[in-house]
Amino acid sequence: MWDIIVSSTPEIVWAGIKYTIPLAVISFIIGFIIAVFTAIVRITTPKGNPVVLFFWRLLKWFLNFYVWLFRSTPLLVQLFIIFFGLPNAGIQFNAFTAGIITFSLNTGAYCSETIRGAISSIPDSQWEAAYSIGMTHRQVLFRIIFPQALRVALPPLSNSFIGLVKDTSLASSITILEMFMVSQQITAKNYEPLLMYSIVAAVYAVFCTVLTILQHYLEKRMSRYVQVTGE
């Protein structure tokens, strides 16, 4: 048994470094950008001429639809549609790209709600104080509100990231040779499913533990200004 562990673990970890981690990290970064954009558009009502307003409303409607769509359908089905389905409509991606697209859009939909909620949780008095010193809407949003909202959003965002790391195992179903796929292949040769799947589970757990530690570190850093003191 020890032999199997020693010989297969590096192979699984290597698949993790090659596919699982890049899939998760790249998708989360893109997803986060989508989420911030979506959240900000959904909470903003611009002043301006009717044409701008019309397109803004259209964009809002589209983003609402996007968030609804990706939260209402299973991730596995989304992967299948984008990788196996879209070629029928003449749109073809390689497996890795299809994975990135699906995971990004899925994470973006969930995280946009997290960020929207976090922004709403910052009291109006912060907006007013920033406006009162003559800041523009954009300055208030990005210099005053967003840094505070990010602190609020950090725990749920970490949740999403850790969830995403584990969800990348679904990429095995669209032919990506990530950790879970590799463990399945090794199992097919040595007929040790309990051992192999336990090993891969342990590697996922190690990855996620590292992320949890990172989360705690970031939380501490971002909360350095929050203190309870008496008068």
Binding site: S132, I133, Y225, Q227, E231
Partner: protein
């Protein structure tokens, strides 16, 4: 000088500002008094354009605001730079240090250099006796200290007027006195100020002019002497109502 003409704001079941005509002289301290819900804060916030009356005319310096029209963003920002605001619960930016709280506006709104903004901030902090707090965060300070910092934040923008919206209502008497001493100092330096307060003693000692507001209407407008020594029937009730 600030001049308001026929300024009016109505909520569905509440007339917050009823045909307000007022001038606020430069280099003077105007104190706005009145019972709760009289429209004092609404009036003050309208001067900073955090509140938008539905009609009326507002002049500050050379800028003209017509409340019945959409106000251009540029004009809004300009008027806000001319009117600093100090809030009842100070509303400092919790994620920024004291120094950053004060220099945020000068650096990013007035485009001052960091060094220049920090030097001015230090001078202001010394003025209010809090220079040693510059690297701390707001949550590490008492309410009275935070309010004095927020006054520095407003002063750092070098506004024409500073608007105080019940600046001491959330403070206990000792901390209130710390803040009032700063206000008194500013008044002596001829800073143009408009102060909404419930502190009658402050009005008596510091105001150049008193405005008494009730139900969105101006009930009285005049000197401290008139207000306290020759009060109208209603003001007499208001003043004696506070004794026990």
């Amino acid at each position: 000088m600030i001049k308001l003409e026929h300024v009016d704001k109505q909520y569905r079941d509440h007339h917050a500002l009823n045909d307000i005509n007022l001038t606020f002289e430069a280099n003077q301290t105007t104190v706005i008094l009145g019972p709760s819900g009289a429209g004092k804060s609404t009036l003050l916030r309208s001067l900073n354009l955090l509140e938008r009356p539905q009609s009326g005319h507002y002049q500050i310096g050379a800028e003209q605001v017509d409340f019945s029209q959409e106000i251009p963003t540029k004009l809004v920002l300009k008027v806000r730079r001319m009117t600093g605001m100090v809030f009842q619960s100070w509303n400092l930016f919790p994620h920024l240090t004291i120094m950053q709280n004060i220099t945020e506006g000068p650096i990013h709104v007035l485009n001052q250099s960091k060094a220049q903004a920090e030097q001015k901030a230090l001078e202001l902090l010394e003025e209010v006796g809090l220079a040693d707090t510059k690297d701390r965060y707001p949550s590490q300070l008492s309410g009275g200290q935070q309010q004095r910092i927020s006054i520095c934040r407003a002063l750092a923008m070098d506004p024409e007027y500073i608007l105080f919206d019940e600046p001491t209502s959330a403070l206990d008497p000792e901390l209130e006195a710390q803040v009032l001493r700063v206000l008194l100092k500013l008044a002596q330096q001829q800073q143009s100020m408009i102060v909404v307060t419930h502190n009658i003693e402050f009005a008596r000692r510091v105001a150049d002019k008193i405005v008494f507001l009730e139900d969105g209407k101006i009930e009285f407008e005049g000197t401290v002497d008139e207000f306290f020594n020759h009060p109208t029937q209603r003001i007499h009730e208001f003043l004696t109502g506070m004794e026990f």
